[in-house]
Symmetry: C3
Subunit: 168 residues, 3 copies
């Protein structure tokens, strides 16, 4: 009589470990998010939507990848900065939700790339972030996105990304 | 006894054809949306809200209106680019919803204009988009909006617009 | 038998006057919002969310604080412009909601600072806005935020801010 419950329990457990397992496979270590850069909070939930503050390419030691793509950073380095911003955002999500498996969908992404005036490959830079989301969350990680080129960003960070997440 | 149903059926049909009829009156031909410029999707729905990715002034042949307003493009040409971005967005909405009459409200618009540093008429540029939404959807097309001037945009497109739509 | 109702009535009245009282304590006078700068509306509600259009640092007389932070304006003047944008936004909220006590949460803020290319203190500028929201609404005023540096803004306003508010 307990078999169906056992079965569903096993399925639920398997699903629950998916995202953490995927992070391990990708060699990604999350870290405790640092303090916000001003008088704001890292995330606010309303209904089933979690709005995240703008995040930069923060490393585990709290330092940031800085500089302008097209001058200080190559396209590849910019994409790496976007990916690191993804790691910082995953770290905030983990701290907010406790369990990354509670993410139902990465809904919307605004990716702002610190770059030179004639740099026009913001989408390739932002793929560094988007590829990570799809690698971690699969279809749930596929999002609507804008990628744009910025004149100036806080502390000269290379990328700033804000996202909206649908959560359980 | 069937008359009331017939009456409401006619009203419903009249309403359902409004948007398509309006597009014909305006001489606007929608087109199948092209592929996204990166690893993202054109739209994500959560609840009754549809979040659209950033769109550029894409023509039916897939080419874009490019250049900076205030240097490469006049104000009028910028407004035309914003209007063309509206056509591209309507094309995506049609592909997503099947029927544009399912649009309940254009809720929020972020309009990013590729321009020179001393150009300050972003609202007039963005009216090219907003006027089209109101022409097509009437009161349902009236939206909250931000219009700003950008340093650089993907592929040097003249305008990038992202919107949030409430749908049935 | 009426005592419980009386009691709750008094509590409700006390809560209802909180925000207006706080505005008086802070010496803030709201004003009737001016017309939008283009073919859009100042706010659109969908569900429990109110999306506000981009606002500038508009004064009661309709004039704006203009110029670039880092060149025309100091950091302190920029923060003052962000605070004034907050007053303009509160004025719009008051006009939309009738009663500012209907604000349940300032959910999300996008703060766009008109600045020079090497200015990197956008978060300190935006604290002028955020500090005001927390002073007025307390914990309900704590929001997720992005702060970024813009190349150009409408009418050369010093700051443009758009917000999402959860309302009753």
């Amino acid at each position: 009589m307990l078999l169906p419950f056992l079965f569903f329990g096993l399925v639920a457990t398997a699903q629950k470990t998916d995202v953490d397992k995927k992070l391990r496979e990708l060699g990604i270590d999350l870290f405790p998010p640092g303090a916000p850069m001003g008088n704001y909070v890292k995330a606010v939930r309303t209904g089933n939507l979690l709005y995240l503050a703008g995040h930069g390419p923060t490393r585990a030691d709290g330092s940031n990848i800085t500089g302008k793509v097209g001058k200080d950073l190559t396209l590849e380095q910019g994409a790496q900065a976007a990916r690191q911003t993804g790691v910082a955002i995953l770290s905030t999500l983990k701290a907010e939700l406790g369990d990354l498996n509670r993410v139902k969908r990465i809904v919307k992404v605004l990716g702002m790339v610190n770059c030179t005036e004639n740099f026009t490959d913001q989408p390739k830079v932002m793929n560094g972030f988007s590829d990570l989301m799809v690698a971690v969350f699969g279809d749930k990680g596929k999002h609507a996105r804008s990628a744009v080129g910025m004149f100036a960003l806080p502390s000269n960070i290379a990328v700033e990304i804000e996202i909206i997440v649908e959560v359980e």
